[in-house]
Symmetry: C2
Subunit: 428 residues, 2 copies
Amino acid sequence: MKPYLEMNREELLKEKEGLEQEFARIKALALDLNLTRGKPSPQQLDLSMDMYDIISSKSVLRTQAGTDCRNYGSLDGIDEAKRLMAGFMDCEQEQVIVHGNASLSIMYDTISRSMTHGVLGHTPWCRLDSVKFLCPVPGYDRHFAITEHFGIEMINIPVYKDGPDMDMVEQLVNGDAAVKGIWCVPKYSNPQGITYSDETVRRFAALKPAAGDFRIFWDNAYAVHDLYENDRDELLPIMKECAKAGNPDMVYEFCSTSKVTFSGAGISAMGMSETNRNDMLKQMAIQTIGHDKIKQWTHTRYLKDMDGVRAHMAKHAAIVRPKFETVHSILSEEISPRGVGTWIKPKGGYFICFEALEGCAKAIVAKAKEAGIELTAAGAPFPYGTDPKDSVIRIAPTFPDLEEMKQAAQVFTVCVRLASIEKILGGK
Amino acid sequence: MKPYLEMNREELLKEKEGLEQEFARIKALALDLNLTRGKPSPQQLDLSMDMYDIISSKSVLRTQAGTDCRNYGSLDGIDEAKRLMAGFMDCEQEQVIVHGNASLSIMYDTISRSMTHGVLGHTPWCRLDSVKFLCPVPGYDRHFAITEHFGIEMINIPVYKDGPDMDMVEQLVNGDAAVKGIWCVPKYSNPQGITYSDETVRRFAALKPAAGDFRIFWDNAYAVHDLYENDRDELLPIMKECAKAGNPDMVYEFCSTSKVTFSGAGISAMGMSETNRNDMLKQMAIQTIGHDKIKQWTHTRYLKDMDGVRAHMAKHAAIVRPKFETVHSILSEEISPRGVGTWIKPKGGYFICFEALEGCAKAIVAKAKEAGIELTAAGAPFPYGTDPKDSVIRIAPTFPDLEEMKQAAQVFTVCVRLASIEKILGGK
């Protein structure tokens, strides 16, 4: 096999003809596969069903401290749940607030509160002429949707194998008081699957922001979502690093059990300094009497501690790993030798991030749709939905079953090859 | 027994002496009772524990439409839950959005969204010089806390037996474009226990607001919380009345199962016009992927429909009714003949609202505290915590057991009598 970029026009046309025949054959299959969302598969959800065997009419739904989980109260969550979620974030129990069913809502509420009431006495962002957020790209579309919703200006920051471009981050954060935050998915990042290096985390912790209300939004969504038990990425605990660097208030950390137990029916949490925590609780006291403590009780009884979580996640990995490896091996076989795309083989998380030749992503997604494969819209992992190079495609391998995933990946490679050839020919 | 206001100074001094002895005797008992919060008792919470027998590892957590309740999605809730909650609000299933564990959070989020993004294209409230809310008083402290938190000016509206002073409401709403909303607890109101008359509801529905983004915040918290199965207050359905009057968009209705199943671990919902609903969903899509559908599944399987809800609430009533009646009968015996306080005997809800002689509420609460009875702070049911007459005390009879409630009520009457005499003597 020859890289497409080394082929002459004739060779490309011949290759194209074969691919078009293949594409027509695929279309005739009338496939209907969906690779758009990072959702666990039903098989993964089955793993946690026995959580509902530990609660019944006979259960005594009390905490160790004696709180009745069935009644109002406990604004910051029950101690057992704080302890569990502290394990996800490698921080102290006292730094945790346990929330409802989604960490996304905590992030939204945190931004919303900063807009209307400001951070620790600083001017509410809604009264400022300019508020900016740094957005490592490609990133999580729902992060960018929140900042866009509030009219916050978003600045793209390239992400490399060891994390965001820290020179750029330092320059912008330390130099511009309008920069109020940065979105980070530091472990098995969405969508690239990379984990921030120790050096990157330490540079984050050592930032000297021009804005006193600058915050790192550290969305540790995949903290425990390792694919390989003996080859995990290790992420330095940001809260500890920030404290060491004399910046304890600079970071908010988020996590949840959405992809541990049930998506949208788990528990979520936020970790932060005592000062930030008190600030947040003041506002939370107006918004709610407290989150669902019965669900906190059930989750902590079920998962127990980080050993319990790791053991449970190993079961997820056994289901998910073959899907990731299938995609990786099909791409390695079909794409690499032809030189029309790159990706990082992730060791965890929920995505594989395919980087096509420049200007090909939209065309690939369109072709895949024609062939019955729904892919996340090209551009989605970028602020304002705009991928400047039109090259990134997020693949979510978890939801389909293994056979479907295999088929979808094969079809995908045909689409990539065809769109790439068309692009190359168009440029010749 | 003679009304205190008809007693001469000597009679009052003699009465006071006797009461002081009684008060000293009570203090020696070192009681520790809490009547502050409208919380269900453990016995009430026990009623719903069998909900957890209908879910186990064997459950198929799917909706009738086939949605997997364990996975992401269904921003507006599952159909079954929309149908159930529509029953609470006497509206159409299509008008409902099912939320998380607390209607309070929906109200907070609705105000917050109006501040930052405005209502249906109107100017966001944070950009206006003046935003006002009407607050029927006494009312629910947490409502007023929300509007205070956002710097919204609150205007007291007196509440009579059939609802708020509608002349005043009409004048303010129809005449002042800065008036953007009104807080209402229309059935078994917190704290008075009154229910708005048909006439009141119709006058609400017929408002002609000066502000296009004026909304009635109709917190139907006690929609199904009747104490007497055969003597229920009936509330006209506001959404239907607003639609009839040509004002379909003017109302947001809220409800929850917090005091039906578990407090803080139930489901909540909002009812509104299609136009409002679409507006709200646009913002919600940024804030969350969806609320907890497993809890929606469990609740709808358990409560089934409004017949199921009514049957379940009858069990609550059997526990709560004697407590209300005890308070009522002790007050009737000890307070009425002495003319030092009035209250309405509620047919449902969670509170009895005691109206003392003017200028006595704080003194009564202080005395009760001295005697080991924690009462809601005087003034709490008013915006900014200020009761202009210092006369209203909210009594929450549900949480203590019947014997405790009896004892607390008796101690309360001693405190009322003593504070009243001191007040009368002070004025003579």
